[in-house]
Structures are given as structure tokens and as C-alpha cells.
Symmetry: C2
Subunit: 332 residues, 2 copies
DNA sequence: CTGTTAGCGCATTCAC
DNA sequence: GTGAATGCGCTAACAG
């Protein structure tokens, strides 16, 4: 591996000149600039990240704590992670992956100066990692919205507004009793904020619009879905519309309804809250409020970088939902 | 942040003594050892990873190139990644995440000395990244088995043997015509090695056991499944058993078969090739050859670390499948 | 516009 | 068993 010294010698300039050509932190004559770049190319030089980190106090690495468990919306997590990595690259940053349960990892990578900033996904309402993270004093962004951000920046989809948008759409279609099938009970129990907020938004919107509501948590299995549908559609006051906030459940839904003799949307309107590709994957594409996982991931990276490079203040950013009507909702 | 110098001063010893206490590379009297450890604790010292990397030529980071796309078995990928990160930590390594399409990333992190070794997932039969990776000269392990490993270590589940095991099981239950529903066409077209090998193993095993076979690639959507089932079950010579190698499809299968009036296993036996948790998630747990994603991820990390720390030779390791009979297969 | 130089924090080779 | 000294490769302040 060639070093900067080798490059300097080959280009007939001093070491610092090479450094400044690379960083652009001072003006260099075009002539010597070219000479240096040529030497870099010829020697196939690239800077040693450790040395750079040592001298500059910057690692060019972001830490990302992601839930690598099976019990979450795996495909959504994937999209977040992909967006984070891709966006980080546009800022010349790499991404170090920490698992959700490795709380000590936050402190470790920070105190070892391995990362310049931290991102944390799958936030719970009163997440114990947050005070810990806040105390580290590194730029950090929560992907999710806890009860108390402890002075950290947050970014998330506005799940409450998503539910409201869905309810408003259905209400305008004259539905007067709407069901909500949401995240698994486990997500509710640990107060994953997306689950809580979507439910809350739904309940409030129904109350405001004066429509009846029934809520069920539901795992992504056929038996669980059957039970949830029984609860929502059974009884003497069945709903005529459904809001579904559970990506893994969507593929199971068409057949479950078909086997009850219910047609979509003639007998039952359905609005999905899900990533767009999931909403579009069905035989009959779902009317949906789409979760822009990519945008959120990108925003999160932009926000850490902002805090890293400038003195922009802490911010809490909620991404506004929008509904696209497709083939699964109609007026009654 | 405290430095090693601070620790040395606080403990009343020299800098090198602290270093040796940490590395254990030479014997230190228990007395001074304790003094040093105490100082470390008191100052909350931890070594600067950049400085360590610079001096030791080791970053304690592994690069992992993972497919963060929606078109693969997302949950399986997740399990691999989780296993890799967890295992890496037991070797005191962290994991840097690279996306599948960022071929340049391999060279970048290598030439910048950011990583000590590389892992690559989702290998294709003639993957263009492999010669590139081989040329880098870093310890590397492929999670998957290409046509030509270019002298790199490989580890993977023995998908061919998995199919054979499934066929043997069904053959012993007197099934004489078996269907195979596999990965999506897209996976076949790019020759993802797991897809190719599972198919090949199936075809060969059927021939060897003298049972009839029908193969279909299938996306994880209801229409695609319907079509695949038509092909396999329709005609005047329907199969009496099915091998399914497609995690995302499994949740859709019970209803698809039920709606055809087929009972499992009375009318149709089914063997899944899938991670155990997926196989167990169904209302009626699948008889399955389980894909031990965790074991494979762990093995991959162990193999890079072997090549990093010792001169163990390159190896190709295939993990032997085993079948667990549950409620979805029976004799005819 | 360019060169010289002093660290950044740690691992390790010598000397004792 | 311990300490002093050197260098890893780079950044940035200082000096022209």
C-alpha cells in the first residue's frame, strides 16, 4: 500500500500539498494538483482510514443500531437500512451495524471513536437506550418518536396522521364503522412507537369523524388473522371498511376475505398502511398510505450529518403521509 | 477521552506497560496489572480504534456485503446478518455493512484498511464480484457456492442435499410423483446458487429414486402460486407431494390448497425447505429441512477469523441438512 | 500558493 | 518485569 509520502515524492511536492489536494481545504495551483492526482492514480493510493481518523478525529463511519429480529416488519427494516447505507455513502460515510440488543455497543463504538454519529431504529415509547445514547454526546438521530427524546433529533413517518388520512378517506366514502388491524400484540406490549401512534391516530380520527371503530392487534398468521376478522366483522354491527397496518398480514388478507365470501371493495373497503412496493405486490393493488422507508432513512442520515457538520439545532421531523387510492376502496 | 498516557500516569507506570496489560503480549506482575486496570476503570479509558489500527495494522472490523433488496428472502438475509454480527462480536470484531450493488465498496474498504476481512452473501454461480474480491488479497468468505470460488473460502447450506433429503423422505412414504415449487424466476435467471442447487438436487434425487418430478419457479404472490399449483396438480398425472423452497410462499400455501379442496397431508404431503422459525410459524407446522441461517453466518465469521489469525487453508464447507417430520407429510 | 513540522494514540523493539 | 524511544500515515497549524 502506497502512503501519502510516496505520492508526495512521486509528484515532487510536499506531504501537506498532497493532503490539501485531497481535502480541498486550501487552494492549489491546477498544475501541481494534476501532478498529485496523477501520482495518486499511478500508485493506486488511498488514504489509511485509521491514520486519518487519528489525525482528524473523524472516522467517516456512522453507527446504525437496527432490529435484526424476526418479530418486526423485516422488509421495512431492510428498506430503512438500505436507505441509510446508500445515503451515508453520498456523504462519504460508511455504516457500522449494531444489533438492537447490544446496548453496550453504543458506548463501545463511541468511546473507541469508531463512529462520528449514531442512528437508532425501532424506538420504543420509553426506550431505555435513549438516555444512554443522549449521555454519549455524539450526534444521534432516532428513527422513531419516543415519549421523551432526551434532546436528540428524531425522524419518523407520521403514523398518527397516516391513520387519520385513511379514516378520512373511508369516511368520505360514507363508511360509518371502520376496523383497524394493526401490529402484533408483542409490538404493542413493548410500545413500539409506530404501533402506538397508528392506533391512537385511528381512534382519534374515528371519534372526530363520528364513525364507529374496532381495533385489533394481529400476528401475521392465518389463525390470528381469522380471529381478528371474526372480532371486526362478526357481531351484529360489522364494519364495512378496514385499515390494515401490518405488512406481513397483507398477503394473507385477500384469501381470508374471499373465504368469507367478502369481495373487495364491494363488500369491504381496505386501506393499507405499508411500503409502496408491498401495497403494489397484491393481485389487486391496495389503496394505501405508503410508508416512505427510503425517505425516512435518507432524512435520518442527513440529520446526523447536519449536526456533525454544522450547528443546526436538534429537530423532530415527521414525514407527512399521503394516500393513493387504488382498487380496494369504494363508496358504500 | 482519556488516552493510554493518562492511564500510565495515573497508575504510575510507563505507557508500554499499559499497552501490554491490555494486549497480554507479555507477562506483567499481578500487582502492577491491578494498578493499571484500576486506573483504566477510574478514567473510563478505552483505546482509540483509529490509533490502534494505525499501529497494529488491524481494524477489528469485518466487511459484510449483504443483499438489502426486497427481491430476496428478506427474513433469511436478516438471520444471516444477525448471526454474522453476533458472532463477530465474540471475536471482538465489528461489522461494516456494504450493499450488494456497491462493488467498488469492496476495494474501497480494503485499500483504506477499514476492514480485516470480508464476507459476501447471495452469491451467484458466476458472480462478477468474486474475481474482484479474490484480487484484493484480504481474508474473505463467500456465503454461497459459486462455480469457481477463485481460491476463496466458501460456506453454505447444502441445498442439493436438502432437496435429496426431502425427496427421500417422500419416496419412503410411497410418493411416486413429486412437485417442486422453488425460488422466483428472477433468482433463477441470475443463477443465485441456492436456487440452482436446490433444483438440481431435486431433479437428480427424483431420477435416482425413480419418482416423477415437476418443477416450477414461483414468486410469492397468490396469482403466481395459483399458477404454479395448476401446473403441478393439474393435468392427468397430478403429484401427491410437494417440496417447497420459498419462505415467502409458505404462509400462502395452506389456504391455496384448502381452496382446492386439498387437505394436508391426507391429499397432499408437503416438505418445506426453510428456516426453522418459518416452518414452525404455520398453524400446522411444516415437515421441513431447515436452513440453519444462524449456523452458516457463524461459520462464515469463524472461517474469516481462522484465515486472519492462523494459516489455516482455504476451505469449502457445506452444512449438512436434516429433516424433521411434522404434521404435513404422510404415507399414501 | 507551497513547504516544514508537530502531534493524533497506540504497538513494539530495544535497552535495562 | 519494566521503561524509553520510534514509527504507523495523516491533518492542520505555522511559516514563508
Amino acid at each position: 500500500m502506497a502512503t501519502m509520502n510516496d505520492v508526495a515524492r512521486a509528484a515532487g511536492v510536499s506531504l501537506s500539498t498532497v493532503s490539501y489536494v485531497l481535502s480541498g481545504k486550501r487552494t492549489i495551483s491546477e498544475e501541481t494538483r494534476q501532478a498529485v492526482l496523477e501520482a495518486i492514480r499511478k500508485l493506486n493510493y488511498s488514504p489509511h482510514s485509521g491514520a486519518r481518523a487519528l489525525a482528524s478525529n473523524r472516522s467517516n463511519v456512522l453507527g446504525l443500531m437496527a432490529p435484526l429480529r424476526a418479530d418486526v416488519n423485516v422488509s421495512v427494516v431492510m428498506q430503512f437500512v438500505a436507505a441509510v447505507v446508500t445515503t451515508a455513502r453520498t456523504f462519504d460515510q460508511d455504516v457500522l451495524l449494531l444489533t438492537q440488543d447490544d446496548a453496550g455497543g453504543l458506548e463501545r463504538v463511541t468511546s473507541q471513536s469508531m463512529v462520528d454519529g449514531l442512528l437508532m431504529m425501532d424506538i420504543e415509547a420509553r426506550d431505555s437506550r435513549i438516555p444512554l445514547l443522549a449521555r454519549l454526546g455524539k450526534p444521534a438521530v432516532l428513527i422513531g418518536l419516543p415519549d421523551d427524546p432526551h434532546g436528540l433529533s428524531c425522524v419518523d413517518f407520521d403514523f398518527a396522521a397516516a391513520s387519520r388520512t385513511a379514516v378520512r378517506h373511508l369516511s368520505e366514502l360514507n363508511h360509518i364503522r371502520i376496523g383497524f388491524i394493526g401490529s402484533p400484540p408483542a409490538s404493542l406490549e413493548r410500545h413500539a412507537t409506530y404501533a402506538d401512534r397508528a392506533r391512537k391516530g385511528f381512534t382519534e380520527a374515528c371519534a372526530a369523524a363520528d364513525v364507529g371503530s374496532v381495533l385489533r392487534a394481529c400476528e401475521a398468521t392465518v389463525p390470528a388473522l381469522t380471529e381478528a376478522l371474526d372480532a371486526v366483522l362478526g357481531g351484529d354491527d360489522p364494519v364495512t371498511a378496514l385499515v390494515v397496518h401490518n405488512e406481513a398480514l397483507l398477503p394473507l388478507l385477500p384469501q381470508a376475505l374471499a373465504s368469507r365470501g367478502l369481495r373487495i371493495p364491494e363488500d369491504l373497503s381496505v386501506v393499507a398502511i405499508a411500503p409502496e412496493d408491498v401495497a403494489l405486490a397484491a393481485a389487486k393493488p391496495w389503496t394505501a398510505v405508503s410508508i416512505p422507508a427510503h425517505d425516512i432513512g435518507r432524512a435520518a442520515v442527513e440529520m446526523v450529518m447536519d449536526r456533525l457538520n454544522s450547528d443546526k439545532p436538534v429537530e423532530v421531523r415527521l414525514i407527512v403521509p399521503s394516500l393513493v387510492q387504488r382498487e380496494t376502496t369504494s363508496a358504500r
